[in-house]
Symmetry: C2
Subunit: 120 residues, 2 copies
Amino acid sequence: MANQTEGKGAVTAAGHRVAPVHTDPDDVSLLAALSALADPVRLTLVRELAGSDDWTRACGSFDVPVGKAALSHHFTVLRGAGLVEQRDQGAKRINRLRTEEFEARFPGLLALVLRADDVG
Amino acid sequence: MANQTEGKGAVTAAGHRVAPVHTDPDDVSLLAALSALADPVRLTLVRELAGSDDWTRACGSFDVPVGKAALSHHFTVLRGAGLVEQRDQGAKRINRLRTEEFEARFPGLLALVLRADDVG
């Protein structure tokens, strides 16, 4: 089941799931960071993660109105922007918001996003 | 000439140019602000405006690789995000970055964008 949420190439020939690829926040451009956050679904994911302990939230646990393929894409964008770290735990992929690293790269940006009183 | 840079409906029946419509930064959503800034052309416009005195830069004076229609669209987005104020001065449309108002609405965001050491 879990593999169905992944894009092309995410499953090895042996049927094992490929570990998620991460981008170091130091290598993230300002445009990539802004683009990653300029989306209502990803804003919700980031905010829910910010309110949860590290490694406690599986990808399927978020209250967002998108299907599995779209959700997988959103997490790929968040990983690529240095915002989210993921690891596989059994059939689940669990998440951590990279609060400190992202803050070091873009001081104040995550705080602004989390502080904002509006959804959109 | 100047009218040709405007979109549909920007010229009155009498041939007068319609004054630009502005959005108060207080009415701008976080998503709109992030989306406005998550574009390389608009980032360039904002940064060039930040380095210029108010009302000294006409729309055609920016070094961006886009045509007039696209440029007009980018300025519309910037106005809609509360980032830019425009007024017509003869055949030119001149600009001002709304630094203080935008800062009051999204503290630190503009500074982050201007401070960033990379273009993208």
